[in-house]
């Protein structure tokens, strides 16, 4: 996983609540067995006016000029400003894969859906919770200022606007550590392999019905 330390990035506002992962990456693209290449299909049904299929060359597809990501002033955005309950619905990690592949590294919203929120951290994306008042303010400033950028510092957990206003955000020490260093969580967990093994032995001894006579067989 890529590390995330600091970003001074262009902000793109997506002014809708309850943006679901079906909207972030529609189902037809979930047939891929790869982890990369989803960026061109991010928000596919909102972004293009024709029906997208996996493998399609998106450079020639008709764009929906009303969709915010297609507006020239937001080209190259690295921070997405969003509303409540962003990422609700399906657990598909293809959603953060598409977001990351597109080039977005930070999402700021008043709230996120739980599974999506966790999936972001596994992919070097920082989902950042800010109060409704702050998010409202950022939406207003972003609309009023072309080229609106925010500076996000993970070490100090602060976001600073062009006018110098700044606010702090929460993140668990574990997630912060993994993001700052781009760490492989599985490797970290397997440092506890002995503890897991010991737990498993006791657990399965206490609940012997969890061990199946047919273990290792495939039906």
């Amino acid at each position: 996983m890529k590390a995330f330390k600091q970003l001074n990035g262009l902000v793109c506002p997506l002014d809708r609540a309850n943006v679901d992962t079906d909207a972030i990456i529609p189902k037809q693209f979930l047939k891929s067995i790869q982890r990369s290449g989803f960026g061109p299909y991010l928000f596919d049904e909102l972004r293009y006016t024709n029906y997208g299929e996996p493998g399609m060359d998106c450079s020639t597809r008709p764009l929906n000029p009303d969709f915010v990501l297609n507006q020239p002033r937001y080209k190259g955005a690295q921070i997405l400003l969003a509303r409540d309950n962003f990422g609700c619905g399906s657990s598909r990690e293809h959603a953060p894969w598409a977001i990351e592949d597109y080039g977005l590294q930070v999402i700021i919203a008043p709230s996120f859906a739980d599974i999506f929120f966790g999936n972001c951290y596994k992919n070097g994306i920082l989902p950042l919770v800010a109060s409704v008042e702050i998010v409202d303010r950022l939406f207003r400033e972003c609309a009023a200022t072309e080229g609106y950028r925010l500076n996000v510092e993970l070490e100090t957990q602060t976001v600073t606007t062009p006018s110098g206003f700044s606010f702090e955000f929460d993140i668990t020490p574990h997630r912060k550590h993994c993001l700052l260093h781009g760490l492989d969580e599985i490797g970290l967990t397997l440092q506890h392999a002995d503890a897991i093994k010991n737990f498993e032995i006791k657990h399965l001894a206490a609940q012997p019905w969890l061990v199946f006579d047919t273990e290792t067989t495939t039906t």
């Binding site: 679901d20 049904e45 996996p54 409540d84 596994k122 506890h192 657990h203 067989t217």
Partner: protein, 469 residues
């Protein structure tokens, strides 16, 4: 000291390690796997040279991409076929306790086959790269959806990195009216607390109405916990649970059964347990529910009218109402019973079990679908459900009514296979999500119970099922 909630008991009995910041490692008993969210996880295992920690925890089968008819033709779309064949190859390489490949007689929706095989048991932790894993909480198990990186994490370590959720209890007391189902209870809960109302919580459903539900009904309720924002839904194990499990292929046998039941009987919230939030709903007041918009929280009793955005003061909410009405092609204040439909879908991990099919068949027996309804799909949740339904003659009732009786799978719940809702068409669906484009780009979905879907198929528009009984 206050007693423990069911969630506390399940959490504590699987806690392997806890960091100072509350980040925990929890042990996973059951890992359900389907073809869509697993290929990248298996590939990650291969690239890192890792082997699965306990392949006997795995129950797997393809469901999202599999066709629901013409099985002799196989899977026609090459990339869908490749995804299913990739699951075959991965299970062959990494192993599993249970694997039902495409066309196996027991294959079906992963959340239907897990319970019916007895591989989901009370007291377990159950995960799957699928948000509707919350379904299995109906057994008094801690069950929730995970992402693909977490699928790999569980494969490699049999654990998940997690923080403890807050605890919510949703109490549904009273008695349901005839024709009002588990689906209506769940939709009414979502309508009350909203699609983000359960975010950060594990929801335990309790109360007289929940206790009176069958396992099928309880699975429907827990399945929809995620649509209220809660990763996990829970219902305490009781005699209904053990009666359902007894004799199933992978349920405990002999002395182990007695040991297991004794343990399962402890899996309930203590009387003095404290919840972070309690929501109370009078079950007697719940009417059959219909979603009118593009989020499951946009739901109303069938007797209501479509909302008028002019009455909403909050500007973000008003914009969302207007957008939903435009997408759904509905006018403000229109009575829901006047909404005409084009298609009906009876299926999905929410409502494709035998009880759902029996309920739908009972409503339509001897009647015909309306002429304005161009297609009614009935998609059983598994091969076992399909065989049971055919033994009971339900398939013949559906076929005689002009419905299509299909092979099991996820089908038009999310339209990854060929079963799709065309743009502009309106569907009464027993599935779980009415998001824009969910059942097909431009398709308009109304979520309802199997009884309400069946009645709408006959009338050609929504009807109050209570007037039909």
């Amino acid at each position: 000291m206050a007693g423990k909630t069911l969630y506390d008991k399940l959490w504590e009995s699987h806690l392997v390690h806890e960091e100072a910041d509350g980040t925990c490692l929890i042990y996973i008993d059951r890992h359900l796997i389907h073809e869509v969210t697993s290929p990248q996880a298996f590939e990650g295992m291969r690239l890192a040279g890792r082997t699965p920690w306990r392949s006997a925890s795995i129950v797997a089968n393809p469901d999202h991409n599999t066709p629901t008819r013409d099985w002799d033709k196989g899977i026609e779309e090459p990339i869908a076929r490749l995804q299913v064949e990739t699951l075959d190859a991965n299970i062959k390489e990494f192993g599993a306790l249970v694997y039902f490949p495409f066309k196996h007689q027991n294959q079906g929706i992963i959340h239907v086959i897990g319970p019916e095989q007895g591989t989901t048991l009370p007291g377990m932790t159950v995960v799957c790269g699928d948000s509707h894993t919350s379904t299995h909480g109906a057994f008094g198990a801690l069950a929730h959806g995970i992402g693909t990186s977490e699928v790999e994490h569980v494969l490699a370590s049999q654990t998940l990195i997690a923080k403890k959720s807050k605890r919510m209890q949703v109490r549904v007391e009273g008695q349901l009216s005839q024709g009002v189902t588990a689906k209506d209870v769940a939709l009414a809960v979502i309508g009350k607390i909203g699609t983000a109302g359960g975010t950060g919580y594990a929801i335990e459903f309790a109360g007289a109405v929940i206790r009176s539900l069958s396992m099928e009904g309880r699975m429907t309720v827990c399945n929809l916990a995620i649509e209220a924002g809660a990763r996990a839904g829970l219902i305490a194990a009781d005699a209904t649970t053990t009666d359902y499990l007894k004799g199933r292929s992978f349920a405990p046998k002999g002395a182990n059964w007695d040991l297991a039941v004794a343990y399962w009987n402890t899996l309930h919230s203590d009387l003095d347990a404290v919840f972070d939030t309690v929501v109370e709903i009078d079950g007697s007041g719940i009417a059959p529910q219909v979603t009118w918009g593009t989020s499951p929280e946009q739901v109303l009793p069938v007797t209501a009218r479509v909302p008028n955005p002019a009455n909403e003061v909050d500007s973000v909410k008003r914009a969302s109402l207007e957008r939903a009405l435009l997408y759904m092609g509905l006018s403000p204040d229109m009575p829901i019973e006047q909404i005409k439909i084009d298609k009906v879908f009876i299926g999905s991990c929410t409502n494709s079990r035998i009880e759902d099919l029996r309920a739908a068949a009972k409503v339509i027996r001897g009647r015909q679908k309306a002429s304005n309804v161009n297609q009614v799909l009935v998609v059983p949740g598994s091969g076992m459900v399909k065989r049971q339904a055919e033994q009971e003659g339900l398939d013949q009732i559906f076929i005689a009514a002009g419905f299509e009786w299909r092979e099991p799978g996820c089908s038009m719940c999310l339209a990854m296979n060929a079963d799709r809702l065309p743009a502009g068409e309106r569907c009464a669906s027993t599935s779980n999500r009415n998001f824009e484009g969910r059942q097909g780009p431009g398709g308009r979905t109304h979520l309802v119970s199997p009884e309400m879907a069946a009645a709408a198929a006959i009338a050609g528009h929504f009807v109050d099922i209570r007037t039909q009984l």
